[in-house]
């Protein structure tokens, strides 16, 4: 009687066919195959986008100064990326983004916990948080200038106002969805107030917190792009200012260069969040079924 080694979970495999990567047994082999599995779709997607772009370009539907060719854009990007100004702008903007984001995380966490914790506070400002979130950054400019004049602090202020609501909302909704059973365990273990938060509620909230951080980052970055128009210093271009400049000049390749740059930064940052998320999920036993 033949002993067959079967593929795992045959019944489910119909669904998961697309997700299958070839089984390899060595450790290095597994690493390589995982790398490959993570890479080829990106390469393919990129190729498709560029291919489509090239086709549209060739169709002549739009003039080249409206929609430049991929090659022209690439040349512009490569040439521009060779200038120090490009990198300085990225550094300046990243510094602001990280400072603002760190500040937002601190404020947002405290605010989120406070609102989730105290019913009257939630009744008072819970809904306001979402309201604040919908306020366009530019509406904060007058207030930012009033409070901080034309300074880095004014930019940070706009960034923080943009990102805090998301982070707070992430924590609030996480806390709201902590299974009561866990809170009961915490109470029985004798945890009170801070301890309960430290050992039960915050860890349980982590997934929602991370997704709040992700949204918060997006808001922070967008607010920053607007906020950087508040303080424009000659010779110290920031992404927001230079991007706006490219737009003013109707310089399509330069605009696309900045779009690509922002996307790449966004993708890199997302990778960080993704990593955190995967860590949480695998330690919680949530991705065992892949």
């Amino acid at each position: 009687m033949p002993v067959e080694v079967k593929e795992p979970s045959r019944e489910l495999s119909g669904l998961d066919e697309l997700e299958r990567t070839p089984a390899t047994e060595t450790r290095w082999g597994r690493f390589a195959s995982r790398l490959w599995a993570g890479t080829w779709p990106k390469v393919l997607a990129l190729a498709l986008v560029i291919g489509a772009w090239q086709l549209v370009f060739l169709s002549g539907r739009w003039d080249p100064w409206v929609l430049p060719s991929p090659l022209a854009t690439w040349q512009e990007l490569a040439a521009y990326a060779a200038t120090p100004g490009y990198w300085e702008a990225i550094v300046i903007t990243m510094q602001r983004a990280l400072t603002g984001f760190a500040l937002s995380v601190a404020i947002g966490s405290v605010l989120g916990i406070a609102v989730a914790r105290f019913k009257p506070l939630r009744a008072a400002i819970g809904s306001l948080i979402t309201g604040l979130q919908t306020m366009p950054s530019i509406m904060w400019f007058p207030l930012a200038i009033l409070l901080f004049k034309i300074s880095e602090s004014a930019i940070l202020f706009v960034v923080v106002l943009g990102a805090v609501p998301s982070i707070a909302n992430g924590i609030i909704s996480g806390i709201d969805y902590v299974p009561p059973g866990w809170k009961r365990v915490g109470a029985v273990l004798g945890m009170r107030g801070f301890q309960l938060y430290r050992h039960v509620i915050l860890p349980a909230t982590l997934p929602s917190f991370v997704s709040g951080l992700k949204q918060g980052w997006a808001f922070a970055w967008r607010s920053l792009m607007a906020g950087e128009l508040l303080v424009i210093v000659a010779g110290q271009g920031s992404i927001g200012a230079l991007m706006q400049g490219a737009r003013e000049f109707n310089d399509a390749p330069r605009v696309i260069t900045w779009i690509v740059t922002v996307l790449v930064v966004g993708i890199l940052v997302d990778a960080v969040f993704r990593f955190a998320d995967n860590r949480i999920r695998s330690s919680w036993g949530l991705n065992q079924d892949q």
């Binding site: 009687m1 002993v3 067959e4 080694v5 079967k6 593929e7 795992p8 979970s9 045959r10 019944e11 489910l12």
Partner: protein, 261 residues
């Protein structure tokens, strides 16, 4: 009452509703890997009632989920299973967004049963598990034992030919358990089900099973098989059941103490 100490079965002439051949299941990779099952061969005849016994952590739940096709085998094969099978999990795993009746009806809904029929069948099944008054409650409003009974009703609603049950009556008092034994036996007979039943209660195993399979711990292997030829209906507190249970308990005790030693 006759008793067959199960020597490893001949490979020939295997046919059944569930046929496991040299099933190996390892969790994880590298040095942290755990071998939950190591070469389990088991042949479950259609329409039979098989009880699995074994120490905590010996791989019983693992075996059921392999049969259900929920996890992948490391090696070996599982054949002849008509899927989907019905399964009752060790944790009741009810869906919090559905009412009790809704949870039961879901099994029917997936099969395309109409609304009125669904409602009728769910009510019937909830009655079977003595929860008629609780159709509109939410799972979080039930006690642990009640939840387990809802999960039983859901599994029965599936109406599959193979029924896998993982400690289904663990959280029930003796009386409710007796009642449900009777019900389960009745349904098994009427529908001609093939049942694989995990329990820690040896008497329960003898009360219900045609056969009792003893698994060893780490790695899980089939240690013994007992055929239970007692006449049905059996009573859990009858002497024949108690006697056979005592014998199996001794074997189990020996195995556990060997392992612990």
């Amino acid at each position: 009452m006759s008793l067959t100490r199960g020597a490893p079965r001949a490979d020939a002439a295997r046919a059944g509703a569930v046929v496991l051949t040299d099933v190996v299941k390892r969790y994880g990779r590298g040095p942290g890997a755990v071998t939950a099952l190591d070469g389990v061969s088991l042949d479950v005849a259609p329409g039979s009632f098989t009880c699995l016994l074994g120490a905590s952590g010996c791989g019983k739940s693992t075996l059921l989920s392999l049969v259900a096709g929920l996890d992948g085998l490391t090696s070996g094969s599982i054949d002849d299973v008509e899927r989907p099978v019905a399964m009752m999990f060790q944790e009741s795993a009810l869906f919090p967004w559905l009412t009790v009746a809704g949870n039961v009806e879901l099994a029917l809904r997936v099969k395309g049963v109409g609304r009125a029929e669904r409602r009728r069948r769910a009510a019937e099944l909830l009655d079977t598990v003595r929860l008629s008054g609780f159709a509109d409650k939410r799972p979080h409003e039930l006690s642990g034992g009640m939840r387990q009974r809802v999960a039983l009703a859901r599994a029965l609603a599936q109406d599959a030919s193979v029924l896998l049950m993982d400690e289904p009556f663990g959280a029930l008092d003796a009386m409710t358990r007796d009642l449900l034994h009777d019900e389960l036996e009745r349904i098994w007979r009427e529908r001609g089900l093939t049942v694989l039943f995990v329990t820690h209660n040896v008497r329960e195993a003898v009360r219900l099973g045609d056969r009792v399979v003893l698994l060893s711990s780490r790695p899980g292997r089939v240690l013994h098989e007992y055929d239970v030829d007692l006449e049905r209906p059996r009573r859990i507190d009858s002497t024949p059941v108690a006697n056979l249970a005592a014998e199996i308990t001794d074997a189990l005790r020996e195995e556990v103490s060997r392992h612990a030693g």
